[in-house]
Symmetry: C2
């Protein structure tokens, strides 16, 4: 029987994380991790959930953007959305008036992504499968129909994409079995926030090693002296065989990045993340050419597939950090992932925040099974924080993400959390002096 | 006596332009030209006005974004804002939580721009000067303090910028006198909307020629056959000595743009605008290399100075179309303008819409007097539409913008228009069936 979307509702949920300086880095000094959370409902009573992660002020704009886009999904027939999701994505991103606010960037793009991901959640719940298994079970042709080739056809053509997807189809089962057995490797960022002192840093790094993580990531860029000291502490704690990652969160100018990275090279970082503006493809290229041998990563603020296309094709970055809430949902992540696979660049998704770990684990499992077929150089970021607010939080075992088994996109939040952290009227916020906005 | 900002208010104003197919192009089929309009008030009773131009749905998100940023300007001391506007701009764009929604792109960036431009309007009103004269009267050092070098230092350094500004200081008076005498050359887009038929096109082109415009612009990209026919009609109407511009509004893929532009080359367009995605620096470079000799223009959707920096430095575009509402206000326009001047690229601002002509005339006059010192290859877009809603609309004489004489940024709207076109409750909208959003 035909079903259709009949309602979309949005909640503004914020966690007062700035109290603890959790999440502090060179640019983001005092984040209050937040979510613009949405629920889709169908006539037959099915529900799908999605969210945009933000770091506090402005979360209300993401909620409003989702509401402004509701008209593009409410009333739509479910079968039509299900079987033509690539087409739907292009449609929701190219509303002839809303697209002026981007195009395909900022809050309208994030809102499109949250709606698209909620549709995936809904679809997977109806099918009784976790999203990654649902996608891994699709034919190459069905997967192709999910991709968005608009304005990226110069680096990836439809027939080429289909050939790539077909080539990995036969062994998909073996890779699924491997994931079920071993999980997907993770690294942790929980150890290295700038707000943590040296003793905390050292003990958290040792703990990360014991927990089996592939790497630890340190926030850098506030002061070179401090960075050298903290990298030394981290390297001592993790030893020589575990990877060290550093993340400057866009703080540097291009020339400054070159000087600074040369100083940090002695600690052999596996990659340096966000050395400068996330919009600056040429700036990254200039840095790359000057720091021979050290790899650059970026993506958590990369606006869309068109920016990623350039970063990847030119070799301006080595590691592709797609974000489940910055891009327009799983479909654009898959498009970027296939471009990355073509150019042999590993995708190492951005995670942490609220729900990002839950989201991106699905992406990375699909990447391994259907897009790149590889694990070398790949891992998923992990931050040990706020998972308790989700009904089916991600599960880490021996430093690896274990494949989600519960139907959906793992993003449904607990009712009690939605109520307690509702902004600005939930019990956690009432009485706090907050800068609204 | 010290004064400070005590209030910020916002209005959602929309004009039902889609009724007439005014503004129709290959991507924007049915725009309702709109403005998120803001008023700043000081304790002493001064006011400053600013706006974000949008094309309809989503205007409410721009209004909300301005409101979310009000906390960053209300309560601030006026002298502090006045004498450190570059610093203030960096501050408003790097709010540690709001910047997550960009950074520096989309609605938060546009909102920052509207506030910054309202401060310029306020300041100019207090000084009793039009904005362009106020800026042209600043010292090189004062002008330098208005610029934002963040993440563009690899192509323009402070000392270099100062030297450039100083070099043009001595003759500024002569250029001001020339502007007062001759105005600033304009081209018109009013002739070439896709929604107009061939007879309309021909007669409007002839009219543009008679009115003394430097060039006419045609919207293209819906069908090659139609474009060839319309370009021929336009060329016949304007003759061989007047320039023809064509604008694809991002419709083409990179390869498609190359093929299409080669076909249109016979009509000798002075430039081809927005051939593909406004984010695609490398795509533009690929097109440029394949269409030897034809110039590309882009910018109305270029998110910020970091994107412009790349387009300009690499030569991916030849003509720099800054937008007064897309960039973060006059300060970022000046920064982009100085980078363009360094690389010898003309700035030809995007205009039309609601209030863009009023805004950018100030920019271009400053460009001539203080940034580039040149008029060659430069002009301001003009669209003959919606000017009647402004208290001091721009004034065109013999195809040239005449310098504004009234204090401020020319952007204050008439009270009667604000009320009549208030969305969704003003008399023009009540009773209409609108897709809200």
């Amino acid at each position: 029987m035909a079903d259709s979307i009949v309602a979309l509702s949005v909640s503004d949920v914020r966690f007062p994380t700035s109290d603890l300086r959790v999440g502090s880095d060179a640019v983001n000094a005092d984040p209050d991790y937040s979510a613009a959370y949405l629920t889709l409902r169908t006539r037959q009573g099915h529900e799908g959930y999605g969210l945009i992660f933000t770091i506090g002020r402005g979360n209300e704009l993401c909620c409003a953007a989702i509401e402004s886009m509701a008209q593009l999904v409410v009333g739509r027939d479910l079968d039509e959305l299900r079987h033509a999701s690539g087409k739907f994505c292009e449609e929701i991103m190219s509303d002839s008036q809303l697209r002026w606010l981007g195009p395909e960037k900022g809050v309208v793009h994030m809102a499109a992504g949250a709606i698209i991901n909620a549709l995936w959640d809904l679809w997977a719940r109806i099918e009784g499968q976790p999203v990654w298994r649902l996608v891994c079970g699709m034919s190459a042709e069905e997967l192709l129909a999910c991709l968005n080739f608009r304005h990226v056809g110069d680096v990836l053509q439809r027939d080429e994409a289909l050939a790539m997807l077909r080539a990995l189809e036969p062994d998909a089962g073996a890779r699924i079995a491997r994931l079920e057995r071993e999980g997907y490797p993770a690294y942790t960022t929980s150890a290295g926030w700038l707000g943590y002192d040296d003793a905390q840093l050292s003990s958290l790094c040792r703990q990360a090693r014991e927990q089996g993580f592939r790497a630890v990531k340190l926030k850098v860029g506030r002061s070179l002296e401090e960075d050298l000291r903290r990298c030394r502490i981290a390297r001592e704690a993790i030893g020589t065989d575990m990877a060290l990652l550093v993340d400057a969160n866009q703080i540097w100018e291009v020339d400054e990045a070159i000087d600074w990275i040369r100083e940090l090279a002695v600690f052999r970082p596996e990659f340096v993340e966000e050395p400068t503006s996330p919009d600056d493809v040429f700036g990254h290229l200039k840095i790359k050419r000057a720091i021979d041998g050290i790899r650059l990563a970026s993506g958590e603020h990369c606006a869309n597939r068109i920016m990623f296309k350039q970063f990847i094709e030119t070799g301006a970055i080595d590691v592709v950090q797609v974000d489940a809430c910055r891009l327009a949902g799983l479909n654009e992540m898959l498009t970027v992932g296939l471009i990355a696979a073509k150019f042999g660049k590993p995708v190492v998704p951005h995670a942490g925040g609220v729900g990002l770990c839950e989201y991106v684990q699905h992406y990375s499992m699909i990447d391994f099974v259907r897009l790149s077929g590889r694990l070398e150089g790949r891992m998923i970021e992990y931050v040990d924080h706020l998972h308790e607010h989700f009904e089916s939080p991600c599960r880490i075992l021996d430093g690896a993400y274990m494949p989600p088994q519960v139907p959906g996109f793992s993003i449904r939040m607990r009712e009690s959390s939605l109520q307690r952290y509702a902004f600005p009227d939930g019990p956690e916020w009432r009485g706090r002096r907050v800068r609204t906005g």
